[in-house]
Symmetry: C2
Subunit: 341 residues, 2 copies
Amino acid sequence: MEKRTEIENLGEFGLIDKLTEKTQKYQDSTIKGIGDDAAVIDSGDYFTLVSTDMLVEGIHFDMMYTPLRHLGYKSIIVNLSDIYAMNGEAKQVTVSIAVSSRFSVEALEEIYAGIHKACELYKVDLVGGDTTSSTSGLIISVTAMGTVAKDEIVYRSGGKENDLLVVSGNLGGAYMGLQVLEREKEVYKDNPNMQPQLEGVDYILERQLKPEARKDIVHHLSELGIMPTSMIDISDGLASEVKHLCKAGGLGAEIYDEKLPIDQETYDVARDFNLDPSTCALNGGEDYELLFSISQNDYDKIKDSKHMTVVGHYTDKNAGVNVVDRNGQSIPMEAQGWTHF
Amino acid sequence: MEKRTEIENLGEFGLIDKLTEKTQKYQDSTIKGIGDDAAVIDSGDYFTLVSTDMLVEGIHFDMMYTPLRHLGYKSIIVNLSDIYAMNGEAKQVTVSIAVSSRFSVEALEEIYAGIHKACELYKVDLVGGDTTSSTSGLIISVTAMGTVAKDEIVYRSGGKENDLLVVSGNLGGAYMGLQVLEREKEVYKDNPNMQPQLEGVDYILERQLKPEARKDIVHHLSELGIMPTSMIDISDGLASEVKHLCKAGGLGAEIYDEKLPIDQETYDVARDFNLDPSTCALNGGEDYELLFSISQNDYDKIKDSKHMTVVGHYTDKNAGVNVVDRNGQSIPMEAQGWTHF
């Protein structure tokens, strides 16, 4: 009998490792393949960056509460975020969409309205794609391309012990937005006449449904004369991304619970849900903020920034990856990330 | 009541036109967006080419007769074909896959074995991708990247009146392979104990299940000192592709029925199915051959080639796109192409 291993037994990252371990390199222009936010291709005077992501109905989004326009917008944003996480400038995208016949032309136009809006705001060009039918549901696959000067590229690796770990914006909002939407969906399913309770949670809903990518942070760091030593975008939750950086750089890390930037609305709603706001900030995904490390010498340049918060620092690899709680206790960090399988 | 237009009423090309008509250009490096086989990006010393395609279970392939390894192989080939159709060299690919839990890790490894094989034979690097779950079925989205010297790029436009229209290889085989597979599927559904009748049709089955991209033709033309004036790959059937070239170039065309290159096996099986072999060659898709135009001055260089066949020539736009039958009658060409919607 043929061997059958369930995908869920490996998890997303284990699966990717297994499937791509036999990858060979044939082209000199391939500088970096799988294993960072974007692939890196030598284009002579600079590097070209390429990143791709697939959004699947029922897995990444729920049509019951996801406006199509926002979905189109978000599908672009999540890919641009990967280009910015390499310290690059996003320039072009391709979009492939598979839809079943339950979607109308007008529905697709709504998705594209969001795509065009994101392209306009981030100044990227929609240059290609594919449109096809599916037997069920909606799938959007986006590939983003960008460029970065060869001496300005920032990888996941490259951090050094004692470098400061910094996050842009705030964390946990997208996750709490999702919790609110899921709660209202359940209420609606029980009684379709109930009006959804979405007052006072605009910010976290927008974090979930219409996130932004931190192009501004890349520019801001450049203006401040700061070159991050390592960088990643926060799509799967801070804890998961810190672990990625530590693995890539051969380092450990300490993250300070009390430093985690959490918006008041996120905090309040987490409390309403009887959730620990810090856990939401550590493990909630889809914030699309940037996590990066800087030399301690650069601390003065960012310490007054409203857009960036120092949340910890790299340590020796043997110290592991830890969270220091409000009592000063260092405990191993659990990265649950987003497991789709 | 909201307006609802069914996608099938527009067709694939009409839909793409409608969805992308509002596309803006923000980046100077974007040379050519939607509307050719690949997007063209200025990379300084040369152009970067980008093409993307999505294969959806139940639409583009049937798991009942598609070996997973071949599916992985084909998913790469169909994208490389688009790069070669720009006279370029394919260099990198990204692969995103969504699968439902009915697929095992071993099944995915089979798909990747095919992907790796195609990468090895065509010397392209797998540099990124995404692996996620789907609620049903298997979806593969591939993006291929390549390069081409700026003075060697070939667009769909660029042909001139009287330029010769040339196809590589032969046509209709992939379509007849599909007919055989569909026939055997029906037989199997009626009686699962019946053995499939696949003897003597190896060639057309391979054309359907494991096609090749014509990298060799691009090299061959270069060696012969021929620069095509226009080019496209034949994914949707010759008739459909001739129409694309004519539309892009503002030209008409005459295709000679008796010149269509049809393999003997394709011919024989078409006859078995009571199909006109020429119709299969004109409208059968998925051959992934190249269709291109050359100056009449280059005719002597290719007239003895086993790999290329002159099938017609460009005419004035007002003459339309026609097929000249074996009686010398010129009749308007119908391009049914592949309509997935």
